[in-house]
Symmetry: C2
Subunit: 185 residues, 2 copies
């Protein structure tokens, strides 16, 4: 198969996947996490039902793909920020970016993910955790971060502490998280 | 009405409420957050349907009462711990108790609360937040806790940072949270 043709097919497949995910996101927003069926997704996206089932066996797999896409976008943004800032400012810049991203609105409905038991939703979360672990390992090696707790535990802490509810301003949760990570006196 | 009689009525009402909540908790555990109806709660608890509706207008209100009972039990335990330990150990003891409690198993299903939009579920959470704010205000006045961030924000941070997922051991999340709260050098 000529490369230009296989690239066209790949682009088409991506477009179908994206359309199915967008339709599902929009349906969940309108009808809630329990009110969405594969038939509605087909209708809303303009994809034939038979075609839709070739891409996604069920609603759970579309929700998982949505979640994956969402986390991947976060990771891309965090990687950009990490590349654009040199140590010792890198860690603070990435944590600040994550605190803001984790509060943005267009997130996959957690109730929908739980309900439909989206099986791969945790895989994307693991990649985010790995990214932060690498960042913290690097910072610990430079003495910017405490060495008495493994970087993987520090990363888990950051992922929970930084979003810190809608009520806490991001600069505050970043200040407190950085204080938690700082090496002891 | 003689006092003994009104006390009997109050105890009876509490028993009916408790039975309805227990039945709902057990049904949600078995059938998931969407598979439960008021009729099932009536049948499972042995309370007549008409009587059940006198206590709770809908499933959301039972879930809210369940959540309220759960948080109240937490608050009772935290208040006990606070009373049993004197400063400067009080704060660490209470945060440690909360880190353990927030990881216990028999919690109201968050998906159920979200789905049924249990209206008063946040009231109980606000009481927990108020309790921690008072504790942190007291600790800040003694110089045990940083004064540059309002105690209400510190409390919000603790509530998110301490549970920190099932993967992080409670002593680690308590150590990190206390480091975040410590006054600056």
């Amino acid at each position: 198969m000529p490369r230009i043709w296989s690239e066209t097919i790949a682009a088409h497949r991506d477009a179908v996947r994206e359309a199915a995910i967008d339709a599902t996101a929009s349906l969940v927003a309108r009808h809630g996490p329990t009110g969405v069926t594969m038939s509605q997704v087909a209708k809303e996206s303009g994809i034939g039902r038979a075609t839709l089932y070739k891409y996604f066996p069920d609603l759970a797999s579309i929700l998982a793909a949505w979640h994956e896409r969402h986390i991947t976008a976060h990771l891309d943004r965090l990687a950009e920020v990490a590349e654009a800032t040199a140590p010792p400012d890198r860690l603070a810049a990435v944590l600040d970016a994550y605190a803001h991203l984790s509060r943005a609105h267009a997130t996959p409905d957690p109730a929908a993910l739980v309900l439909h038991q989206a099986p791969h939703a945790t895989r994307a979360a693991a990649r985010l955790h790995d990214f932060l672990t690498a960042l913290l390992t690097e910072a610990a090696a430079r003495g910017e971060v405490r060495a008495d707790i493994p970087p993987t535990d520090l990363a888990a802490f950051c992922l929970h502490a930084l979003p810190a509810g809608a009520t806490l301003p991001p600069p505050t949760s970043v200040t407190l998280t950085l204080a938690a990570l700082r090496p002891g006196p």
